[in-house]
Amino acid sequence: MLILQCPCCGVEAEETEFAGGGQAHLTRETVGASEENFEAYLFMRENPKGVHFERWRHANGCGKWFHAARCTVTLEVFGTYSAQTTRPPNEICDKITARRPGWSLKDWGSGKFA
């Protein structure tokens, strides 16, 4: 059972209060996008064994979307942050590197943040 804190309303609760929304920081492609980018947006997903960034919704609470940084191997939650951002904030990345020495944002998202 994951325990997450909603950054929108501050409530800390068990995962049954939230709904997972899949990978975060997708680039939303639209008319005129290349086939490759459009396919990536719709279907291709990061599926890391380790640090991951995801969307969650506080479904049975304030109802708002937010982002979470989590490890898919230990289920450790490194932190949650606002969905109004296109990249994970530095303080979240610092928390991750503190727990996973050597990890870098470059490793995630097929080098998107390289």
Partner: protein, 414 residues
Amino acid sequence: MKRYSAFAIAREASRYHTGWERAWRAPEPKKKYDVVIIGAGGHGLATAFHLGRNHGIRNVAIIEKGWLGGGNTGRNTTIIRSNYLQDPSAAIYEKSRSLYETLSQDINYNVMFSPRGVMMLAQTQHEIRGYLRTAHANALQGVKTEFIGPRRVKELCPIMNIDGPRYPVLGALWQARGGTARHDAVAWGYARACSDMGMDILQQTEVTAIRREGGKVACVTTTRGEIDCDKLGIVVAGHSGVLAEMAGFRLPIESVALQALVSEPIKPCMDVVVMANTVHGYMSQSDKGEMVIGGGTDGYNNYTQRGSFQHIEEPVRALVETFPIISRLKMLRQWGGIVDVTGDRSPILSKTPLENCFINCGWGTGGFKAIPGSGWGMAELMANGHSPLTEAFGLDRFREGRFIDESVAAGVAH
């Protein structure tokens, strides 16, 4: 290899069972193989088996990081059926089901295939319409299924309460020739047959990198050294994303946990498999008498082979309503597996952007039933470069919009 038979049992009984051979060898890795398969689950082993049996390719290694059959193949609830909706699915699942019928004879290993019948309950009007549609599609595909009414459901499974109150049983999609098989035996039987053909099964050997030369796959790095190969098959279910990254391409797949549980053994009370998709629960009785129960997947990426408790609680709560007699049962064990789920809930059997590297994955919550057929098709694809069985399941279908949408037929855990 000595054959298993009634005579062999009598012979060994008369000499205190001292003459049984090991079922498969534990060889040292060779420098090079014609084909390397990564993953000794059912699909990897069946692929190797059919490479040898159907195509005469026997210089093969199957590399497994843990023990063979220790992934999802040894963790599933063993339901076998072929009444999917789309034509390509019907073809590969029905091929598979029909191969299961003679599998024990083909590999001289009792996989305990039990075509006891699989019943998928319709508990809403919406489900009735869905299953009628599937039954009609199956009739056109030559897959024998029928839609049955609640009275017949009760006849086939008397312990069921069909009157609700919350989810009354309104009918069911019934495949009389579906059933179950012993999951471990499927892996062990294929492994024994592969080993007998001279193939090397390398357990406790993890692939850590895939090396290329001139755009082609050249070699895999393992925890027991480098192994060269002409062709490579990646068949690792939940770890497909990890291996695809090593091979330099991406997949439309996410890995999530799926759980199951069994009760204490009780006397025989149910001789069919029942799936209740609306409430995400399904149940059958094992030969030992345990009630085998499965539920839905977790909603987030996970590699831990552990799931969240509410996904155990929910199916059990719902099943108690439909099967009141299980309400006092104690549960013995609960476990999880990491399943590889695609956007259209159909598998991927495909060439990859890396030449001579093939992938078989995306079976998600429902690939046990597909093991023999998938092995047949995957072996053909790897040997000949194409296969009528796998044609529609290519990686390019997502870009081209040719989905094989089984989200309705496979909406629950398989």
